[in-house]
């Protein structure tokens, strides 16, 4: 039996309160019908006896205490799914938005998902070749990983994401799909992604969920969950290797903050709700590989750091959950380096087990370590040069500066369509390291040096 409740008790922001409701269940989906014939969707977020708080995804504009009929569906919010979703565009709640009609769904899945049992996870080891030197060599992306891009407004994170998708996908054969979730992105950015996917002929492998900057904020809170439900379905029911791009997580967090404050919750840091970490985790932890399944879910969330501040709660909490991060740097960007990857704070936690002999090449780990440590010393030399001038530097510091410049110009920087193989990348790394004398390379053993090092000291050591 379905009862419709006429009218509301209170409205506050995106929340409506309703009294006298019997048998509402927590988190269930609610349908609202307005007198003008339009309908909206909501979700029960709090229950106190027979009074219920409902979050309305499309916002409460136009809703009054008397013009609305509320129907409790008794079901959690689910997403209708079928293999036909691939190639389609949906809104932030998973309703078709490309004018191609409804999807006839085979199954409906609860968008909240369930936590993966750590026992049933497969530890990710298979590396994804992105063709981008900095990523492949220094912060290798692994299938089943969650590796976010920390960017700032105006930097080229969208271009980088597109390049990763293009180059990672094409080498990967047929069973590859991209789930793209836009949360509060500008219309032209959304369009840029769509055009890029079309241009590189991957659009028939993309499922898009679009919540644009002018779409309802509360809908935005649902978008990543909807997108990940679709991704899990494709990965675990149909063996797809799914790459999920979530952009922009900062807009998502701000939407959550707005919702939390209208609910009157006690704010944590910078006004974000105290459960922001758990909430992020419920999204990011849905990446992974499950034992006995062929598919995988890999996530590349993109977030813009407000004021380029990496200690802002959004990048900070993200970094604590994700398995590394790719940090973009404004100075590099301003100097025309593309992709402007700031090498030192960037990291991939899973690369240790996905590189080396059998995966990439046996010298990979030592080379990466040495590049990191040499480039860290470049920064010291740079700051010293800032004080005493480059001319006054010791020879070894001068050499370091030279190495730093070459590293940024040749290794970090590459064309937006340039797809480097892992061998090219690693060889380039050795070529650059060969600018430094052997005794300054303390992270590599002699055998590796003999094989790959091309610097002056090579003959003496060998």
């Amino acid at each position: 039996m379905i009862i419709e409740h006429l009218g509301l008790s209170r409205i506050n922001g995106s929340l409506i309160m309703l009294d006298g409701v019997k048998g509402a269940s927590y988190n269930e989906m609610v349908e609202l019908r307005l007198d003008d014939g339009s309908s909206r969707t909501g979700r029960v977020v709090q229950i106190d006896g027979d009074s219920v708080v409902i979050q309305v995804f499309e916002g409460t504009k136009g809703i009054s205490l008397v013009n609305t009929r509320t129907r409790m569906t008794g079901k959690p919010i689910t997403l209708g799914l079928s293999p036909e979703i691939v190639g389609r565009v949906f809104d932030g709640l998973g309703r078709p938005a490309d004018g191609m009609g409804e999807v006839f769904s085979d199954v409906r899945r609860d968008i909240n998902g369930l936590p993966i049992n750590p026992v049933s996870r497969v530890y990710p080891r298979n590396y994804i070749n992105t063709g981008i030197s900095t990523i492949d060599c220094l912060m290798t992306l692994i299938r089943g990983q969650k590796l976010p891009i920390f960017s700032g407004s105006g930097m080229k994170h969208n271009e980088l994401a597109v390049q990763i998708v293009k180059q990672a996908s094409i080498s990967d054969g047929d069973n590859f799909a991209i789930v793209f979730a836009a949360m509060g992105v500008k219309n032209d950015v959304a369009d840029y992604f769509r055009r890029s996917f079309e241009k590189s002929n991957v659009m028939n492998k993309v499922v898009m969920f679009m919540n644009r900057a002018n779409d309802p904020i509360i809908e935005r809170i649902m978008t990543p969950k909807v997108a990940l439900t679709a991704a899990e379905y494709l990965a675990y029911d149909f063996d797809y290797n799914v790459l999920v791009i979530l952009t922009d997580m900062t807009s998502y967090a701000e939407a959550l903050r707005e919702f939390s404050s209208s609910k009157g919750e006690i704010p944590g840091r910078k006004g974000f709700p105290g459960y922001l970490y758990s909430d992020f985790a419920s999204i990011y932890e849905r990446a992974g590989i499950i034992e006995g399944k062929k598919g995988s879910v890999t996530q590349i969330p993109i977030l813009t750091m407000p004021n380029d501040d990496i200690t802002n709660p959004v990048p900070d909490l993200t970094g604590y959950i994700t398995e590394g991060q790719i940090v973009l740097d404004r100075t590099l960007d301003a100097n025309g380096v593309y992709p402007p990857v700031s090498v030192l704070p960037s990291l991939s936690r899973l690369m240790k087990d996905g590189i080396g002999a059998g995966y990439t090449r046996e010298d990979h780990s030592m080379l990466a370590n040495q590049l990191f440590s040499a480039y860290a010393r470049v920064q010291d030399a740079k700051s010293l040069a800032g004080v005493i001038g480059e001319d006054e530097l010791s020879d070894s510091d001068k050499r370091l500066l030279e190495f730093g410049k070459a590293f940024e110009a040749r290794f970090v920087s590459q064309g937006a369509n340039e797809n480097r193989t892992i061998e090219q990348t690693l060889d380039l790394g050795w070529e650059l390291l060969s600018m430094l004398p052997r005794e300054e390379l303390d992270r590599v053993d002699d055998e590796t040096i003999r094989k790959y090092y091309k610097g002056k000291q090579a003959e003496q050591t060998a």
Binding site: I116, V119, S278, S383, D442
Partner: protein, 583 residues
């Protein structure tokens, strides 16, 4: 008062029951038709608040709430070791067998398996036994002998003791009649409330280090067996890596590793890695001495709060058998945040940064459960606690780091700039400290070598001298320094790169015995002293550096295998020969 209660309100993991109830504080309850596990956390005259350890989606007002009459407890007995459990001790392996790859709400499986253990009885009819006494033993894994004890609070005379044989944790092995004539059944396992520390006879002073094989820990900032240490560090500084290293190599008998609100893949990594690795002491798999508790960040938040208590209770249980237990908690910040989240839902008045005002008292209660103790049954055991802290924005002045600092005596501060330069373990030697150093110096002097402390202190002062010299170098470059200061910088580099930096992936370097640590220190300092003398004789340092001795010593950690420590002698000869022509 009535005794059939129903759900009134629901807000995330917080559920309320209206009216006056007979629930007691911290009572374990089951909520709703699905029997979700919960705990009573507040009792008012008009309502009772319950925190639920599982997802509350789909729960309705009017669903029943079942009382159990007991505080939140877990079963302690054979079958824990080698297992992986969630925050309230549900075995995750059994859950995956039953429910598949995803964890549904409302699933309960007994913590302990129903296997038959090979039990040796240590008591017979008529024996007078007292609380904590070991009454039966069974080999739990290849490395651990499980000793079943009388639960604390139970003493009396034994009746109907069974003979040796194969029994499960459910079988009654004997009865104990206490002085009041009450009968207590003895089984291999018993239940214990997780928030109550298990009683001990007395606490002993801490005199032995927990040897970890990590040079920066053992030599510079050691932790005592029974001590507590904190590892604070921003993301990417290697907290988890360091916890894993300690869990793998420290010389405790049993490891309890808690992944509290951390990544699922990390737990899978720990699980597979520990299974593969061999315990150097027993030759068996490391998993044979390890219990994993996994409450990953997307599992219910209330169970995250419980996971720390579950872990420390298991640790105390094994300590009571006379084992040295090390417990790693990664990360206690997630635990504190879980408290904050629940406190926020209860609309409690927040203190610092939204954390509840009881944060310091909860932290101190937890860390004080560490200790070296004489147990009720006369054995000696210890619980060492190593807690990772994830400060928000890498800011060590935030409440969790600050309060943790107050209650731990060992502080391994991980540093972003060291991590960026891939200097691992990224323990910053200027910010870290260990108050145990004084308590442990006798052990080092007696066991490792008389000069251990002297070497350690000299190395430490060279590093301190270097960091003040670096202030100058940053301003004017290193060329202008006098030669003796250049030598300090050069030796400090060897200490940093050759000694403190340790490669977790290198077969020899991943674990280094204190003996090898001392030998490394001796060689480094020998070279330092030798060069200092030469420089005093006005020989320029550039002449010394040409010999490449410093670079040779940087590689010593790789060049000398752990089982060929006599090779160190060659280095003295090498140094003497190389420097001979300089006087």
């Amino acid at each position: 008062m009535k005794d059939n209660y129903v759900v009134f309100g629901i807000n995330g993991p917080v559920v309320s029951v209206s009216g006056k109830t007979a629930f007691s504080m911290n009572e374990m309850v089951f909520v709703g038709e699905k029997r979700l596990l919960g705990e009573v956390i507040r009792v008012d005259d008009d309502k009772t608040i319950i925190q639920v350890y599982e997802e509350t989606g789909g729960l309705k007002p009017g669903e029943p709430v079942y009382s159990t009459g007991a505080p939140m407890s877990i079963s302690l007995g054979p079958g824990l070791i080698g297992g992986i459990f969630d925050g309230v001790a549900n075995p995750l392996k059994a859950i995956s067998d039953e429910a598949g790859a995803f964890i549904p709400a409302g699933i309960h499986v007994d913590s302990l398996p129903n296997t038959k253990w090979n039990v040796t009885m240590l008591i017979k009819d008529g024996d007078r036994v007292r609380e904590g006494q070991i009454f039966a033993e069974c080999p739990e894994t290849g490395s651990i002998l499980h000793k079943s004890m009388l639960p604390p609070g139970v003493s009396g005379v034994v009746r109907e003791a069974k003979p040796d044989g194969a029994y499960t944790v459910k079988d009654t092995l004997a009865f104990v009649i206490d002085d009041n004539g009450n009968e207590h059944a003895l089984k291999l396992a018993h239940r214990w409330p997780i928030k109550n520390p298990r009683p001990v006879a007395k606490r002993l002073s801490l005199t032995k280090p927990l040897v970890t094989g990590q040079r920066v820990v053992d030599t510079f900032f050691p932790i005592a067996k029974g001590g507590a240490a904190a590892i604070p560090g921003g993301f990417g500084t290697g907290k988890t890596m360091m916890q894993h290293q300690l869990a793998k190599w420290c010389d405790a008998d049993i490891i309890i590793y808690i992944g509290c609100g951390e990544r699922g893949n990390e737990m899978t990594d720990a699980l597979t890695e520990f299974r593969k690795l061999v315990d150097p002491k027993t030759g068996k798999s490391l998993m044979d001495r390890t219990v994993l508790i996994a409450n990953t960040s997307n599992m219910p938040v209330a169970a995250r709060e419980a996971s720390i208590y579950t872990g420390i209770t298991m640790a105390e249980y094994f300590r009571d058998m006379g084992y040295n237990v090390a417990m790693m908690a990664d990360s206690t910040s997630r635990w504190a945040e879980a408290m904050r989240e629940i406190s926020g839902r209860l609309e409690e008045m927040p203190a610092d940064e939204g954390f509840p005002a009881y944060l310091p008292s909860r932290l101190s209660e937890f860390y004080e459960r560490a200790g070296y103790t004489e147990n009720l049954n006369g054995t000696e055991g210890s619980v060492s606690v190593i807690g990772a802290v994830s400060p928000q924005g890498s800011d060590f002045s935030e409440p969790v780091t600050q309060n943790t600092k107050r209650f731990t005596r060992c502080f391994w501060a991980l540093d972003k700039s060291l991590a960026y330069a891939r200097h691992y373990p990224a323990v910053n030697w200027n910010d870290s400290y260990s108050e145990y150093l004084g308590d442990l110096s006798d052990w080092y002097t007696d066991t490792v070598g008389e000069d251990f402390m002297a070497c350690r202190n000299e190395m430490f002062s060279i590093l301190s001298a270097e960091s003040s010299l670096m202030e100058i170098v940053k301003l004017i470059g290193s060329d202008v320094l006098p030669d003796d200061q250049k030598l300090t910088i050069e030796t400090a580099r060897v200490i940093r790169v050759g000694f403190l930096q340790q490669n977790a992936f290198h077969k020899d370097d991943t674990f280094v015995s204190p003996e090898k640590q001392l030998k490394m220190m001796r060689v480094i300092l020998y070279l330092h002293h030798k060069c200092r003398d030469i420089i005093l004789r006005q020989v320029p340092i550039s002449e010394i550096l040409k010999k490449g001795l410093f670079d040779k010593l940087v590689q010593i950690k790789y060049d000398v295998p752990n089982d060929k420590l006599e090779m160190f002698d060659d280095y003295y000869k090498l140094i003497d020969t190389a420097l001979a022509d300089l006087g």
